[in-house]
Symmetry: D2
Subunit: 438 residues, 4 copies
């Protein structure tokens, strides 16, 4: 009977050496088995930070290590809740929470954001397909408890009946964010992304279905949110990383366009074909790792289509687009730029992109944001006073209020430098100035 399994502990605790948490401790047979599935091992071949390694050469860490880290932080939070004996924490949910923490990113594909943009795919959806489909993960979970695949999928989709379990892995201050901030700071080598994890863990409390912060921990939360703020502007929104993401997206857009036309690819590996056709299945998706994508680009660097081959060579050899900073261009200027570029033989759809870093699926902190469906996407961070009153943190902290929904006003215009420089004499003075070609 599976219920008995729930107590299954490993005879001997397993540890992983981890640079961020020193050690990651695995005590449950189930967690150990999940880590050893091929779907989880695949995360070793997906970088946590996509193309950021082209800006910060240390940032080659994988989603595998991040997933273990989220698991470990979740384990520590729950262990603190258990030691504190808080009645608002549902003890029987521990293993569900640990599984959800471990598996929350299992559906991530290579360079997720770019691919998701172009192919309208969603990693959360793939996570659920992997949890519920014909996979090793599904088999391990089902054998342990037939209800587990659905329960864990529910936690990840935020529909689980115990909202406190959801908030462990998905809130403004969840194990996911805590791990990635520390891990990304460690591997990029920036030290402005570090905060005192142990201090944060000490002030978290389970409270009426959510995780809140002891009032005395307000400065610890400020410190954590400032780390996020610094990481977003210094690392995640770094213009060089943005440039590489633009190239990546253009490659996929160009390949999709060519595939939709009568162009014959010289090389087209199966998972890439499925992606372009829109016939992707789980097996194909699991093969679509970053090694394969990079190998496809290396092949496409020799495709006859000059736009595609140029973009691929740029990506592989890191000849990225340059950028200039500008105010929001009006439609007229925009058209003029496009026309002039076309005149000198460029392809504005692929050789020009305007970027406003705020348009990213991140925000430092946003209290009480509500999705279109009327449900709070990421509930705000709440402080719990000694007399059990709750208050939203930005109402208490000037610092946090000042970074709430912060954004910068400048746009970046990305473009390939060499062709513009070569044809500079054929551009009007205004554009030569804009592109600093004087």
């Amino acid at each position: 009977m599976s219920a008995a399994h729930r107590e299954d502990k490993l005879a001997e605790e397993k540890v992983f050496k981890d640079p961020v948490h020193k050690y990651i401790y695995v005590q449950d047979q189930l967690i150990w088995q999940l880590i050893n599935t091929r779907e989880f091992q695949r995360l070793r071949r997906i970088r946590q930070l996509g193309t950021s390694y082209l800006t910060f050469h240390g940032a080659e860490h994988s989603r595998f290590s991040h997933s273990l880290g989220v698991y470990e932080i979740t384990r520590k939070i729950i262990s603190q809740f258990e030691r504190g004996g808080y009645t608002d924490w549902p003890k029987e949910e521990k293993l569900v929470a640990l599984c959800a923490a471990l598996l929350h990113d299992v559906g991530h594909g290579p360079f997720s954001h770019s691919i998701e943009d172009v192919f309208d795919s969603h990693h959360e959806e793939w996570t659920c397909r992997i949890l519920l489909g014909n996979t090793e993960i599904n088999a391990v979970l089902r054998e342990f408890d037939p209800s587990y695949p659905e329960r864990i999928a529910a936690v990840i989709c935020k529909t689980y009946h115990q909202p406190i379990v959801v908030s462990l892995v998905s809130s403004q201050m969840d194990a996911d964010r805590m791990d990635y901030l520390l891990r990304d700071a460690y591997f990029t080598g920036v030290n402005y992304g570090t905060f005192d994890l142990e201090r944060i863990l000490r002030v978290l409390r389970p409270h009426q279905g959510r995780i809140v912060v002891k009032e005395s921990g307000m400065h610890a939360v400020e410190d954590y949110l400032m780390s996020r703020y610094q990481m977003y502007w210094q690392v995640y929104f770094h213009p060089v990383t943005r440039s590489s993401e633009i190239i990546l997206r253009q490659i996929f857009r160009r390949a999709k366009e060519l595939f939709g036309s009568d162009y014959q690819f010289q090389s087209l590996m199966k998972p890439i074909r499925m992606l372009l056709e829109g016939t992707m299945d789980i097996e194909g998706y699991l093969n679509l790792d970053e090694a394969l994508v990079q190998t496809a680009f290396a092949q496409w660097a020799h495709e006859p289509d000059p736009v595609l081959s140029d973009l691929c060579r740029r990506f592989l050899n890191r000849k990225l687009y340059k950028y200039v900073t500008m105010d929001h261009p009006d439609e007229k200027l925009w058209q003029e730029i496009r026309e002039q570029l076309q005149k000198i033989g460029l392809h504005p759809d692929y050789h020009l992109e305007i970027d406003f870093p705020y348009d990213m699926p991140y925000d430092v902190y946003r209290p009480g944001s509500t999705s279109a469906a009327g449900k709070e996407e990421k509930p705000p961070i709440l402080l719990l006073s000694s007399d059990e009153r709750l208050s939203e943190i930005s109402s208490r902290s000037d610092i946090i209020r000042s970074i709430t929904g912060i954004h910068q006003g400048k746009y970046h215009l990305y473009y390939p430098e060499e062709p513009l420089r070569e044809s500079a004499h054929r551009l009007p003075a205004k554009l030569r100035e804009l592109f600093a070609l004087m």
Copy 2:
């Protein structure tokens, strides 16, 4: 005239954020151009520690970051020599030394040691081919100074006329080793590999064509060599890493064997074909990165040959061979093991390997080792007393003497666990005991 170029400094110093050295400073136009060549950028797709990431999940750092680190340490050593005004340092060699430091690993292929073993290839040779062949690196160097490609190749091949430049990048305590110890420790997360780099740099002195250590720095060298000792036994020789290297080598051996027979591969990407045929050229070699090798394995996981596909799946899904520790098996026992494995359907050439970690191209410290050709491969570490006498360090330090040529006496026998476990009843008791199948 190219000589004038030698003074070419960048208008503004460039920096790379580096987790190990905090920042890497580039001041010379030449270094900046070399970093931006496609051959150097390719190093981003070669991991510094090969398969170690399967043991230490943080160890995903590339040879690109290591190469920058070796450059930076070399820059710091030379800068200390210049500040000290030591006449034994040939100032005019600075840029040659920096280039050699930066480029010393540029010929490394994917999972070098395994491929080199099976295909008898040598990364040093490829480094020279890349330096001297038709490459961006060669063009950049030649434009700067026509003699540079040969000079830098000479430094890397240890034939350069200024031995002190050679010893900067290739000795028992060179910039290469210092960087990889610190870097590998950082990314694996083990802290026993760290030593005090600043302290070591302060005690290095140029002296009669070699780099020696001020006598008062003896304990600093002890500390450095102890770090190496710990890293070798804890990281580089880790039995799980060894297991993954064995699998890797078996994959290549099997592919080579199949290729030599009349087997028809369903997939065979071009650079792999060239490797198997022995027709590899520079272009093919540059495409042979770890992404491509992993993608090839993913394709081979579906090859009809059961040995090859099993090995590839093992590698990708990290179902590695287990191992048992044993004394050196005599020929008779060895034959018996092989026969018994064959009886239960295994292929002893691929499913069994004995490993003695000492058989690795590493040694913690070996004073005055002499190669077959009669020339010292890695000269010993020398201490310089205040009255200018030199002494070999292991003659002075008990600790260092104790780790000189140290090795462990045990052998590891690697094998696939599941088939043995399934057929355990068909094995003789002696082997059941050996493989802990009781």
Copy 3:
């Protein structure tokens, strides 16, 4: 001739091992001699953080180590200015700047803020007396260059004719603040006080008599100011530290009062007597270190005056006052509290203190604050754009604007807990509630 001395370098660079900067490098004979004077060595017996060690047990570091640190940061900044070849940096001022950095705190007495409050003494004044008086420091400086004592005093008093030298050691982002933030964070063990020093140093520029920040360094300054913000609220204003400072101040106030009356002290060491009499001279001041003050307290713990002996025992045995948080008490409530405490035998002047942490000689950041005398005390931090325009940083950064002049609205009321608890039944309900004695 003294001018010749200015080139005097040590034959061999000296280093101090320092936990914060790893090593502190001394290259000038003059600096080395200054460090070895008895007045500078005395700083070993003055703690950098006064009574903070009673809250953070690691905070036992001395002003000696801080002074070396300020010197080292100044040395690094100047060295960066020299490497950059900026014409706005007056090269001939290097040694003056280094001396001023080293000696800026040499006039600090034990537990400075408390003593200065009670005896209206000023450490800056003592610094000048030590620089200009009959001291080893004065002798060393004069021998090097007769103008040095006055010049260095002028830098420290902010009247020096080269304002950029003043701003190195005394501005909103000077070497003093940078060192104490990092050092205090290190020794208390809080990691929210760390910022990336190397990153800050890289963006500083000399510009028209002041030190400004390259525009691209804005986030680095944000990070630095956030560190300050965290350190102020978590460390410097810590209520337990405040409590110990209150006790300390009360001890001095009581001793002063008793000394002014006809009370006969049983023990009164000479420097303490001079302090109470107001006859302090340099010799006495140099003897007034924290060892002596603590020894005096140990003697006074046996004085017949119960108020003094109780306060001294509290300080030595760390039986500090407790505190409650309250809104600003009106005069009426305040009188009532005092009266009620008097009724139960307490001495409101010594057993009660209201504290508003904002009343401290610190502020996180205040742009363009102007002293009464109409001159800017600490000029604001300015950003320098690539086209050489300057802008005040809080006009550019939301974060910095939000912490500018920030303060908390709560008051703390400090009192001895035991006597109140014992006499709780004799207090009105309102006070029992206020002091949480229910």
Copy 4:
């Protein structure tokens, strides 16, 4: 009834911020009360490393912080034993072990080794007097359980009936040594003293009345012992620290000699008088902290006896003795040196000292050392194999064997430099050479 008290937990866990262990957790009422006694608070006024702060300016940390650290490591080890469920660990001894860990150094006086040498006092003895005498610590322990003072004293004196409790705080790899290595490394700033505490803790096992190490932890122990080795030679035996200890010892010897003669001290604070008279009692001992000793020296710097005042000024102003390295001097040379020094007006008993660093109460590692009384002082470190066999670690590790009982062959001769330099012309050539006065 006191037995009930044993379960007394604090309502809310208390934490101390600690730079070495991040946080120190106090869960028991008893531990909290012990920390708040005046005898324990006194440890704030005793430096952990005596005079080392004169060599390493960061080393100002107190025995208070070290004692908390030993407590915390002990707590962690026991907690690991409890989680592992090892039957060889006597659970009921937890609190006794924690108290012993916390209090093991409570009898330390100022600059212990020097004072103990000169006055033949022993800090262990004072620890027992404080535990068993009329002190706050005794009262707190007795109230908790009348048997506690004796039991804890027995643990510290190594006579406790449960040897495993003794070995937690007193063995070759106990909580005491682990904390001081890490702490001293942190505060001096040397990073060669760090080892991976978490890794060591994971391999400790309770086994038949002792604490042993899992065989797989051998390299972790090597790493720990190498840290000790480095700390001993780089920090604890540092010749500058030795010089300051010599001065200190000479001060006490001179004071004792003067006190025994008819010399009249101008200042003699009570605890110092008791020390010189040999009438020290607990109250006096508790007042004898480093603040008082330093204040006494400041007074003695003005004593008419020139030897005493000179030595005190040297100590306070850090004008230490210089040293030369030499082979062991024979009696004849020794006499000659003494005579010559006397001729130029020096006092050989106070102005000359030969030092052989090995003569210190430390050794890096010594297996199975046996005291005169025939009982093992510090039992060796034992490895526990998976089949439960024990082996002494130096029989297994070449490295450890090489540092066992290691010592250096050189002697250091300490002397005041200035008078010798001034009278150099009056010394024979041989001595001028010896003292490098040529």
